[in-house]
Every structure is written in C-alpha cells, then in structure tokens.
Point group: C2
C-alpha cells in the first residue's frame, strides 16, 4: 500500500502544475459521479449520464442541471453536490493545501507552484498568507451568509428545519458562485424579497471578486500596505461599470421586467449580477427574455468574474487588457497603456489567447449542439456560454438536450472551470523552454 502511494506521489511530482490541476479536478468529478450514482443518495432513479452531468456541473460550480436536485437526490445526495461545488469553488488545490496545513506539515515548493498556476497572481503575493486568507474568508462569509439566509427564509415563511439546511446550502452555493439551489424555480418565488436578493448578491460578489482583492484589502486595512494594487482597482472598476451597464440595459429594454413594478430595478440588477458573477441564480425566467437582452446577458456571462475568485468566464481583467490593446492601436500609440500604467507584453498575449480560446470553444460547442439539437441559435449559444463561463443560467433547454448534447456540455463545463489556458497548457505545454531565437518576419494584416 505504501509502495503504491509512493509511486503515485512520484507520478504527481512528474506532472506540471497545470496537469496536476487537470487530474485533480477529474478525480473529484469521478468520485462525485460514483457517489451520485449510488441508489441510497437518490429519491428517484436517475441515469448515469445525468449523474455525471450533475457531478461535473457541481465540481465546475456551473449549476446547469438536467434533473431537479431537490426531486432527485435526498439529503445525503444534496450534501455530496454541496461538497463538490465547495471544492470546485475554492479550488481543489486550496482544499488539498488546507488538509496539509491542518496536519502542521509545511507547504512544499511543489504545492506553491500549483497554487500559482490556479490563481494567477501578480508578483509579491505570499502564497501562505494568501491561503490563510482564503480559508478564513470563505468560512467566515459562508457562516454569516447562512445566518442571514436563515432569518430571511424563516421570515419568508419557510419551515424551520428545511430553512436550516436551505440556508447552509444556498450560502455555500452563492459564495462559490455555484448557482445550485433546492428550489426548482431557482429564486423566482423570492423575486420581490429584498433581503434574499441582497444576501445572494453580497455573497456572489464577495466570492467572484476574488481572493486577490480580499487579501489586498485585508493588507490595506491592517496597515501592511499603503494602497490597493493596480489589479484590484481594475477589477473593482470593471465590475462596477459592467454591473451598471447590465442593470440599465435590462431595466430599460427588457419587456418582461416591466410588470414587476417597484421591484423592477432590483430584478434588473439581480439578473446582471447573476450573469457577471457567474453565480447563475435567477429571479425572472430567462426563457421569456427578449433576444436583444439575452445577447447582453450572453456578453456578461462571456466576460464573467475576476481572476482568483470562485467565478468563471474570461475575467474582467482580460476584457480590460483587450480594450487597452484596441484603444491604444486606434490612438496610434506604440505601447499598450491603461489608466496611466503600461501593461506587460506577456499579459497582453495571455489576454488575446484567453479571449480566442473562449471564442473557439463557444463556436465549436455551438456548432456541435446545432448538429445534435433542435433548438434555435439563441438558446444554444446561451447554453454554451453559460457552460463555458460556469454560470448555470439557462433558457430552459438543459433537461431536454440529447445525450450527445449533454456530453458536449459536460466537457465544456469542465474546461470552463479549469480555465482554458490551464487546460491547454496541461495538454500541450512543452517542458523544455529553450528555443533558438528566430528571425523576425513581417506579416501584412
């Protein structure tokens, strides 16, 4: 037994950080799938494919479901799903490192490298401090969230015992931007409940803002640093702008929110927030949205959350870098600057690559679903973007997909959580980086 463990350890060490993440997430997904297939966790029989879909959706914190979680799985099954999206949300490496830390053994250099790959961070961040912040922050927020949820749910007339479970489940789900719920209509019945709307929004924004921002603020508040980093400013600025833009668009141009009266603004904000943070709960059925506003929601889902957070998407910082490239080209500047700072070359390539990879996966996945499914383009595109951004919003077609379509989305969700660049690097990166400098050659565009 010890020999096998030793061999496994050796195998692990031979992998690149990205490959480790790939294998780690795969193993959690497979264990989750196996557990969800056991009849003792099910209220009613469910196919193996649907269980794989739910397991992948949970570990990737997407929240797309082909079957109702509440009607299909009992308390134990629901707990497994929650465990999966908790792991997925704070990252499997953070989780493993937490176990290691609690054993009082130190973080090895190898683990640090993997963590660095998982949370792309600016230089100068201390991994160990960072990790401590992650754990403290997650547990604190989730407990606070659950308490607030409990008060709000019981006030809304939810039965006491169910309210306890529901509070914990939804608090973890919202913070991990998983979007898994115990209600079959997501939060549509609570569309007018200000307390519940606020709790979800705060949890999802905290989770999706990312641990960089949290650590940064923590260092600022505790006096360790004098001001917040450039990355934090960009993240907060971009998120505020996008949330405002989304809310305004939905408020003024979406006919289906018009009949909500005084709750119109809250509902508009919630739908913009749910897409951008990639939490994926909804208070208005998206199937009734107009085409134009569905495109806005697709855009928000494509952009997604912030780096190092629990959310998905190509990230607000990537969008910022791309806008910086575009703007500086049009202005005929030689260097790429944004808000008075020059952005390093490497980051600009990463931004272009991430954007292109997302676009490619969405195109291929939409093409494959167009072949296998009988739904119009806007529903297929919405579902695909929701899966790659690990959002979990749907116009309502998830349950009606063919087996082929479900398999496509399983792969897309998995890639979405791992991050496209990480996925690519895991499979294709060369270990040997020594290459001869090649002659520059001009290419007309």
């Amino acid at each position: 037994m010890k020999k096998i463990l030793k061999k496994y350890r050796k195998f692990q060490l031979s992998l690149s950080p990205q490959q480790n993440l790939l294998y780690g997430f795969s193993i959690y997904a497979i264990i989750g799938w196996f557990l969800l297939c056991l009849p003792i966790v099910q209220k009613q029989a469910v196919s193996a494919l649907d269980s794989l879909f739910i397991a992948t959706s949970a570990i990737s914190t997407t929240g797309l479901v082909t079957v109702s979680i509440f009607d299909t799985y009992n308390g134990f099954g629901q707990f497994i799903v929650m465990l999966l999206f908790q792991i997925g949300g704070i990252g499997y490496m953070t989780f493993t490192s937490f176990i290691l830390l609690s054993k009082k053994s130190d973080l090895t250099h190898w683990h640090q490298r993997i963590l660095n790959a998982e949370f792309t961070m600016p230089k100068g961040f201390q991994i160990k401090d960072f990790l401590k912040s992650v754990i403290i922050f997650t547990v604190t927020i989730e407990i606070l969230g659950a308490l607030c949820f409990y008060i709000a749910f019981t006030n809304a007339g939810v039965e006491h015992n169910f309210a306890i479970w529901s509070s914990i489940y939804h608090s973890v789900s919202a913070f991990c931007t998983a979007g898994f719920g115990l209600y079959n209509d997501s939060f549509e019945q609570f569309a007018g409940n200000t307390a519940i709307n606020t709790i979800i929004s705060v949890l999802a924004i905290c989770g999706s803002l990312g641990f960089i921002v949290v650590t940064d603020f923590w260092n600022r508040l505790s006096g360790k640093t004098k001001r917040v980093t450039y990355t934090t400013k960009i993240i907060l600025g971009a998120m505020t702008l996008l949330l405002t833009m989304g809310t305004v668009m939905i408020y003024f141009f979406e006919p289906s929110v018009a009949q909500l009266g005084e709750n119109k603004l809250m509902a508009s904000f919630f739908q913009a927030m749910t897409a951008l943070t990639t939490v994926g709960f909804n208070t208005i059925p998206l199937g009734g949205f107009s085409l134009a506003i569905l495109l806005v929601v697709i855009f928000l889902m494509y952009v997604g959350a912030s780096p190092s957070g629990t959310g998905g998407g190509m990230k607000t910082t990537t969008l910022t870098a791309l806008i910086a490239i575009m703007w500086n080209r049009i202005r005929n500047n030689k260097r790429i600057t944004f808000l008075g700072k020059s952005i390093p070359l490497e980051r600009l390539y990463v931004a272009t690559s991430v954007f292109m990879l997302y676009a490619s996966v969405i195109f291929v996945s939409t093409f494959l679903l167009a072949m296998s499914e009988d739904f119009p383009l806007h529903q297929i595109l919405f579902e695909t973007t929701s899966a790659i951004g690990t959002v979990g919003l749907s116009t309502g077609i998830t349950g009606d997909l063919t087996s082929w379509g479900k398999m496509v989305l399983i792969i897309v969700m998995f890639i979405g959580r791992l991050g496209l660049l990480t996925f690519g690097l895991a499979i294709l990166a060369r270990r040997n980086k020594l290459t001869k400098r090649k002659k520059e050659e001009d290419l007309a565009l």
Copy 2:
C-alpha cells in the same frame, strides 16, 4: 473657383491618410446615392433610403440589396452601380492615383502615404510598381473574365445582346468581389453549369487573393526576386486550408446540397469560396441551410479574404497571427513564432485589435437589429457578418428589414469596406505620438 480648389487641396493635405480614405469613400457614396436617386436611371420608383443602401452596398462591394437591381434600375443605373463597385473594389485611392498617373504627373509623397494606409503592405514594396500591377492586372483579368462569361452565357442560352452586358457586369462584379448580379436568384439557375462556376471562382479568388500576392508572383516569374514572401505563403496556405475545410463541411453535413447529385461537390466548393473570398454570389439558396452549416459560413465570412485584395473580412493573415499567439501561449513559448518565423509585436497587436473590433461591431449591430427586427438570431447574425465582411450573402431578410435596420447595415457595410482599424484611426488617432514612457504595471488575468 480656383481658390476653392486650392482651399480644398489644403484641407486634404491637413488630413491623415485614414481620414482621407474616410472622406473619399463618403464622397463616392454620396455621389452614387445622388445619381441612383435620379428618375432617369430607374425602371420603377425606389425610396431614397433604398438608393442609399444600394450605393453604399456597391461602393463597399458588399452586394446586399433591398431591391432587385435588374427590376429597379435601367442600363444606365446598372452602369452606375457597376462603376461604384469597380471604384470600391480596387480602392478609391488606386482610382485617383490612376487618374493622376494618366495625366503624367507623378505620385506625390502624400498619395503614397494614403496608398500605404489602404493596402497594408510589408516593407520593401515599391508603391509605383505596385500600382501599375494593380491596374494592368485588374483590366486584364476583367476583360478575360468578360470574354469567358460571354461564351459561357451564350452556351447556356442567354440572348446575345444581354449576354454582352451581363458578361461585363458580372466579370467586374466577381473580380471586385462585389456580388452584384443581374439575376434575381444570384447564380442559382447556373448551379450545375461548370463553366460559369469556374469563371466566378477564378475571378473572385484572383481578386480576393490581393495585389500583394500578384505583385509577388509577378516579381518571382519575371526573375526580379528569387522566392515569394512569407506573407504570400501564409495567404495561400490559409486560403487553401479554409476552402478545403469549408467545402468538406458543406459537402458532408449540409442536407440541402444532398439532392444535387453529381453537382454536389461543385456546389459545396462554390458556397465555401463565395463566403471566404467575400464575393457573395450563391448557387444554392442560403435560407434553406441548416443552422450548423450557417455557422460555418458565418465563420468563413468573418475570416474573409486577404489583405490588399478586393475582398473584406478580418483577413486570413489576422486569423493566422491570432492562432500563432494562441498556440505559442499554450505551448508556453515566450516569443510568438509561426512556421519557423517570429512575428513582430506590432502586427500581433494589430491582429488582436482587428479581431476585437470586428467582434464588437458584429455584437453591437446584432444587438441593434435584435431590437428593431423580428427575425431569429441566426438570420440577424448572418446578415450582420455578411455586411461587415462585405460579403453580400443573405438568408433572404434584407428586403424585409425596417428602415432602422437598413440604416444599421448601411453603416456596418461602410465600416466594413474602409476597414475597422482604418475607420478607428481616421476618427481617433492622435497626430502627436510623443508620449512619456510609463511604468510597467502587472495585471493579473
């Protein structure tokens, strides 16, 4: 009078090359619009908006039409349309320079700068040689094309007098990748005619390959240079690959070509060719295409032709540069290389900017059409991509658009022909490029 001309000349000289192109195209579009509004060029009354649409579609060599050219305009009107797309096709600056050259006056430095902006070329190209090649090449090919068309049309039973006009018109239209035709079903009645399919394909590929490739080959054949440039190799390689891919996809996955029997391969190739070269003729009605294959056609239209050619789109070289960035990132290389050559930084930024600008315009235009029109997403997206890529293919909704929708497409076609980066530079570029070097700042992605 002389004073006004002198003042206009001074004004022209004060503009940047990009601004000159913008004003030039605008003036041609407005003159064309005015002429097409005259009752003496019309067979039947047509609204001013439709005339503006046709004029813009012609100068931009798009070929989208809200009214039938043959049923609406008489021979004189058809001639104006042809003149517009001839001007648009070989570029308004080439045209102006041609007039200048024929006056035996020399090309000024100022004109050279504008030509450089219009045809983005690798260093080392001589503008004057280049221009001579353009004129010789265009006239030769168009005359040859017309002769071949005449034989093919009369063989197909087209009446002699109409065949002469039709041959000239379609030869110019195909070479300029304009896609304007005198038949209301484009070339659907000739779907099985090998000769006509071949003539259009050769003309469109020659036009869209671009004058860089032609000059390059000319220099190679005449012994001036020993081998073709890197750009030429990339252009030919990318075009061959994309054409093959498109043909294979349509051949195997498009149900509506299945009933064509022995003509299936030719029809599949023609539809891929028409999208990629952005000529925009079709032999099969696109309204009947399946969703999956429409997405493939949209992709081909988005990529488009080659730089310095008569075609539109973001260009095959841009796609190549983007794939190079993506591939080198995934392989973890520090420098961006492709086929053994390192691509300069500046070109990579241009590629990213062009891709992003195209994506932005398509998104905004699709959003606006989703607000004003009552068509499903795939038809709107197809129409928008066709307009920005100056392709002219349509699923058949152009004539049924609202006035608002027509105005959106007019702007999109115009921007599409001018080139997005040129358009942006014309409006926003700063003349003063002296900026202080700013401190590099890291941005997590």
